[in-house]
């Protein structure tokens, strides 16, 4: 990469960051909320990319970490009076604990077994949350005390997105990341090479749970009300997957590109086609899977021999 291109990209990124930082001052409430959502999707997609993009293990229930983070955060804010930033961190911790609990048995499974086990995980966590209604409000949902903190959450969520992407870059350029990708390409060979595949996968899995956990807690605070069906929906998992797929699985900027592009497309489709937007969204998914399974960046990587760290 020559120096001029480096400077250009650096200046571009800086101006984007500055623009995003000052946006809340003059954006509409809806605009700020939407951008906040994009940050959330970047964090989610980026996290999913860490486990599934890098190791090839398709986590089909990743939204479970989001949901558990949301509930942990919400409960700490309402029942224990924690401040929402600390509660958000606690949400991340809760998600990691869940990942540890579920990672041990499930990461030994292969292929569809892992995917379905993760899907089941999501349903079970939702059912358990509904069951322990003394703590979680069950089917009633949980309401947080009213607070207008959307602006602050905007910044924190933005920070989260940056951290996840930066983390992805660090991992991809490290030996740890290389080993993960080896596992993706051929797990048996990786074992033969002496890589402790189980612990590597577990580490990636735990890391991939942090983002959704924190994002869940932040979202709960922002929305002010959560209920089991709305924080554990399969559609969220699928959306984050499609975003990563669209942008390019296993790349650094793929999730970002996918998150922005798909969010914008979704909003447009939604606003103009109230009755058929699921149909259109389904068509988009089919198109992405069939026409660009490597994603935009994946294609560009191949065509222009771009570095792995893109």
């Amino acid at each position: 990469m020559n120096a001029r291109r480096g400077w250009f990209l650096g200046a571009l990124s800086l101006s984007v960051v500055v623009a995003l930082a000052i946006y809340p001052a003059f954006g509409t409430g809806y605009g700020v909320r939407s951008t906040l959502q994009i940050f959330m999707w970047i964090a989610l997609a980026g996290s999913w990319n860490l486990i599934s993009g890098l190791t090839g293990y398709v986590s089909f229930g990743h939204v479970a970490f989001f949901g558990i983070g949301a509930y942990a955060g919400a409960i700490l804010v309402t029942s224990a009076g924690w401040s929402w930033p600390t509660a958000a961190l606690a949400g991340g911790v809760a998600a990691v604990l869940l990942a540890l609990l579920i990672g041990y048995p499930c990461l030994r499974l292969k292929g569809p077994y892992f995917a379905i086990a993760m899907l089941g995980l999501n349903e079970v966590v939702r059912a358990l949350v509904s069951y322990f209604e003394g703590l979680t409000g069950g089917g009633n949902g949980l309401s947080l005390p009213t607070a207008d903190v959307t602006r602050s959450i905007y910044y924190v969520m933005g920070l989260l997105a940056v951290v996840i992407i930066a983390g992805t870059y660090l991992i991809i350029t490290s030996r740890f990341g290389l080993r993960l990708m080896t596992i993706r390409e051929d797990e048996v060979a990786a074992e033969a090479m002496g890589i402790d595949t189980f612990h590597h996968k577990l580490a990636a899995f735990l890391l991939s749970a942090v983002g959704p956990g924190v994002a869940g807690a932040l979202t709960a605070r922002d929305q002010g009300y959560i209920e089991p069906i709305s924080v554990f929906p399969l559609a969220v998992t699928v959306t984050m997957i499609v975003m990563v797929l669209f942008g390019g699985k296993g790349t650094v900027w793929g999730p970002v590109l996918g998150a922005v592009a798909l969010f914008v497309i979704q909003e447009l489709v939604w606003a103009h086609y109230p009755y058929v937007h699921p149909l259109l969204f389904g068509a988009i998914i089919v198109a992405v899977v069939l026409l660009m399974p490597r994603g935009v960046l994946g294609l560009l990587q191949l065509k222009y021999h771009l570095p792995r760290t893109i």
């Binding site: 569809p112 086990a117 998914i285």
Partner: protein, 292 residues
């Protein structure tokens, strides 16, 4: 307030478990076939069931046809739909990484559900055919569920016979075991794929048609069935056909027993915990299944 549980109650619930288990088995068999033959994880299985239920509903309400007679019609119709889907979309992700098939079929699934919502509206429908139960001693045998059980068991039996004894069936099983060898033996693998997807869709539609007299029909009814079918085949061993039967019955029984001894809400959790336990001990399901 807890109620004292008597052996009679347990017996009653075991009956319910077996009845629902047969339906689970029938629907899951379709899914097992698709995975076994094509390595495709088909999320669009639920919508096939839903469409089958609607076929029954419309035939019954427009023409007054006996709901039981609509079952073969629904199965035939969805067989065709399945073949078309396979021919146009799904064949592209056969043997692709499971992520591709998961997503593709998910996209197809939400498109189908939305189409149904627009075409049929989300109004809840049901077919009123036979209600009540036969009394056998102290046990009540639900009429509609028993009839569904008989049909489901028969259909599953026929499917098994087909797989075991007919040439086409053997071809399907051969392709399941090894596509390359099957091709070498002269089996037209592409046609087998079409047939399999159609057959699986027909099985799901049959389940839906039978359900039309039991539950309320609405466009999103299939989702839960997709999920449970997956539970069943992973439990029994993905790609293992008798495994689907065993898994289905086991799921039906576990759900009902858990509902009785615990609460209905926890039965979902119990089913999943069972799944995880089984996978811990046998990572490829109860009956071995196939290594991917």
């Amino acid at each position: 307030m807890t109620v004292v549980l008597t052996p009679e109650m347990v017996g009653q619930v075991l009956i319910s478990g077996v009845l629902s288990g047969a339906l689970y088995a029938m629907v899951a068999l379709g899914l097992a076939l698709i995975y076994g033959v094509m390595r495709v994880i088909n999320i669009a299985h639920g919508p096939m069931l839903m469409l089958g239920a609607y076929v029954t509903f419309f035939l019954y309400s427009r023409t007054g046809m006996n709901p039981l007679l609509t079952v073969p019609v629904a199965m035939a119709a969805l067989f065709v739909v399945g073949v078309v889907l396979q021919r146009t979309l799904v064949f592209r992700v056969v043997d692709a990484p499971e992520l591709s098939s998961l997503l593709l079929t998910f996209g197809i699934s939400i498109a189908l559900v939305n189409l149904a919502q627009n075409a049929f509206t989300s109004d809840l429908r049901s077919v009123e055919y036979i209600t009540g139960s036969w009394l056998i001693g102290n046990f009540a045998l639900s009429k509609p569920r028993f009839i569904a059980f008989v049909f489901a068991a028969a259909m599953t039996g026929v499917a098994f016979l087909f797989l075991k004894a007919t040439r086409l069936g053997k071809a399907i099983r051969a392709t399941s075991q090894s596509r390359e060898v099957a091709m070498v033996c002269g089996i037209d693998v592409a046609r087998i794929h079409l047939l399999t997807f159609g057959l699986a869709s027909a099985l799901a539609a049959g389940g839906g048609a039978l359900l039309a007299v039991i539950v309320a029909i609405q466009p999103e009814m299939g989702g839960v069935w997709t999920f449970k079918s997956f539970l069943v085949i992973v439990l029994g061993g993905a790609g293992n056909y008798p495994g689907a039967l065993l898994g289905g019955l086991l799921l039906g029984l576990v759900e009902q027993l858990a509902s009785l001894f615990l609460t209905t809400q926890l039965s979902e959790v119990v089913a999943y915990v069972l799944l995880v336990l089984v996978l811990l001990v046998r990572p490829t399901g109860l009956l071995g299944g196939r290594q991917t």
